[in-house]
Amino acid sequence: MAEVGNQTQAARKPSKVPNNYPIIRVRDVWVSFGSHAVLKGLDLDVKQGEILGFVGASGGGKSVLMRTIIGLVKKQKGTIEVFGHDVDRLSEEELHAIERRWGVLFQHGALFSSLTVRQNIQFPLREYLNLSQRLMDEIAIAKLEMVGLPAFVAEKYPSQLSGGMVKRAALARSLVLDPEIVFLDEPTSGLDPISAGEFDDLIKALQQTLGLTVFMVTHDLDSLHNACDRIAALADGKVIATGPIGDMLKSDHPWLRAYFHGKRASSRLDGKKA
């Protein structure tokens, strides 16, 4: 394990990505399952240090795009660059080094059910670094408290947590190596509005403290308003629009109008005005 630690140290240098070059650059990506094409020539840029909200219909392929970027789903065509490297051109080792620089929060948390929360959070530390047990414990507790969970949760098993706590614990695990990018798949779905609001604040705070870039799949209009710097909308396998929330609200695209000015969205806006 010590060797792994040393090898990956090299990759941990501040990114060599030129200024203004997108930290994630997706070009003409096609993904299909059998005859069912999900992504059809999708283009997307994520800028360094921003929180990008990714919206789209349920079953539209948001999770698929996220999983394609992190290499869990094979694309049929197209290029994906992360940190300025084309992921297809990297050797296994280089890819592992890059994987260490991002953290992933899966839609259902994906905490290891047979490990306690503390062990879950420590898992990446144990795999990648050679640290004393004391330091790992302290880092795990620090992360847990940073995502807003009390320290006693550390000794619980995932099955003993509520849905919101699972999400937070999973976020703590995805952040434990202080990644440069985090991918969040519907982090606030299934949370009460207060927790969801806190989660947004948390993501923003973490972005500011850790200098994170955040790729967030979400349906939560409040998250889109409060947390996201920019929004990308997916429809029919392509990104149909990107821009700050103001642009989205002004857009004439029928799908965007339906999404942002639909019944739920407008009742929310009305509520704000009232």
Binding site: Q9, S113, S132, I139, M146, A151, A154, S159
Partner: protein, 380 residues
């Protein structure tokens, strides 16, 4: 690797201890940094004021920030006045965040383990577990019988399709492997018999031996053990993962009894399938014995059949067959009880699946022993 990625130097300045932290204080070097911090602590002189100079830190993340903070706390804990100065403003927020963690106000104590205590605890747990198991099996069996009674009174609630489906999966699809295994066992028994009986010229008794052994014991035992491993484990895993994902609870809140929908069909399927499989398997074993006797011992099939007719009676056949449904019930019972005991984790699922197979094979053999005593006493 950079020669000196991180460093921590100490200086005395006007009665004040100054610690100069420099380099990249990030997770990748956390092990190294921690060693520096610990080294420093062991050889540190008493000092009333400590200032941790962070102005040479090029890069900082949570782990590094925590180590700075930990150092500061350690000095404070020893009664010194310690502060972190000169940190790049962009890392201020991070340090503030980290300062609020690990305050230990609601941490849960981790328990120390003691070998003797643990062993004693383990033994006690096993005994209690055994008593609990027995109680639970009996209770579960009772509940199953009550449900069966209710279904008998209202036969339209009987899940016929489900039973057929389970029989297909647990019974029909195990035919090939059971036939194969029992065919081989029959052959091996016959070969061993011929080999040893030949020494005192009693080869023909091989037919008696194979016939009685297969029909009374081997057929039903091997079939039960195979089904415990093949279908019992599947039952436990299925029910266990349904339990894990609250599917069992979902059934319950929809006013459906999991006992009636999930468990009864499985039990009935095994109770019906096991005798049928035992019969098929026993026939395969006899056939295996016959083939071996023919090729290896020179008995023609006619002679074999003739001998067999003399050697066995209906009771020999029934002894095996009567046992089969009970074995099926035991296997299904254990499998379902273990499945419903699964708790949230994947590990627990594995544990209970193993327990299901081990316990059902054990119970099958114990039950077989009781049957042997019973049949001996009624002279069958």
């Amino acid at each position: 690797m950079a020669a000196q990625a991180v460093s921590l130097n100490r200086k005395e300045e006007a009665g004040k201890l100054v610690l100069e932290a420099a380099g990249r204080w990030i997770s990748s070097f956390a092990g190294q940094i921690e060693r520096l911090v610990v080294d420093l602590e062991t050889k540190r002189a008493k000092s009333a004021a400590v200032s941790i100079d962070a102005s040479h830190i090029e890069q900082l993340d949570t782990a590094g920030a925590w180590l700075l903070e930990r150092m500061r706390r350690d000095f404070e804990g020893k009664g010194a006045k310690a502060e972190i100065v000169g940190l790049d403003p962009r890392y201020k927020v991070l340090l503030e965040e980290v300062k609020q963690t690990n305050t230990g106000k609601d941490a849960e104590e981790q328990r120390d383990h003691n070998a003797v205590e643990d062993t004693l605890g383990y033994v006690c747990e096993m005994v209690v577990g055994f008593v609990k198991d027995s109680a639970e099996f009996v209770q579960f069996l009772g509940a199953a019988v009550v449900t069966m009674g209710r279904v008998l009174v209202r036969p339209w609630t009987f899940r016929f399709t489900s039973v057929v489906n389970q029989m297909d999966r647990a019974g029909f699809r195990s035919i090939p492997i059971i036939v194969l295994i029992l065919f081989l066992i029959g052959g091996i028994l016959a070969q061993q018999g011929i080999f040893h009986f030949r020494k005192f010229g009693a080869e023909t008794f091989v037919v008696d031996m194979v016939g009685i052994l297969v029909l009374r014991e081997v057929g039903v035992l091997i079939t039960s053990i195979m089904l415990a491993g093949r279908s019992g484990s599947a039952y436990t895993a299925e029910l266990g993962s349904m339990k894990m994902r609250e599917e069992v609870d979902a059934l319950r809140v929809m006013g459906r009894d999991p006992m009636e929908i999930l468990i009864l069909p499985r039990m009935i399927a095994l109770i019906i399938a096991l005798p049928l499989l035992t019969f098929i398997g026993s026939m395969a074993a006899l056939f295996g014995g016959m083939v071996t006797a023919w090729l290896y011992g020179g008995f023609t099939p006619e002679i074999f059949a003739e001998r067999l007719r003399d050697a066995i009676s209906w009771s020999t056949f029934w002894v095996g067959m009567i046992k089969a449904p009970f074995m099926g019930a035991v296997i299904a019972l254990v499998a379902c009880v273990e499945g419903l005991r699964v708790q949230g984790s994947a590990e627990s699922l594995g544990e209970h699946t193993t327990a299901s197979v081990v316990k059902s094979i054990f119970l099958v053999i114990v039950l077989d022993g009781f049957f042997a005593i019973f049949f001996a006493s009624i002279d069958w």
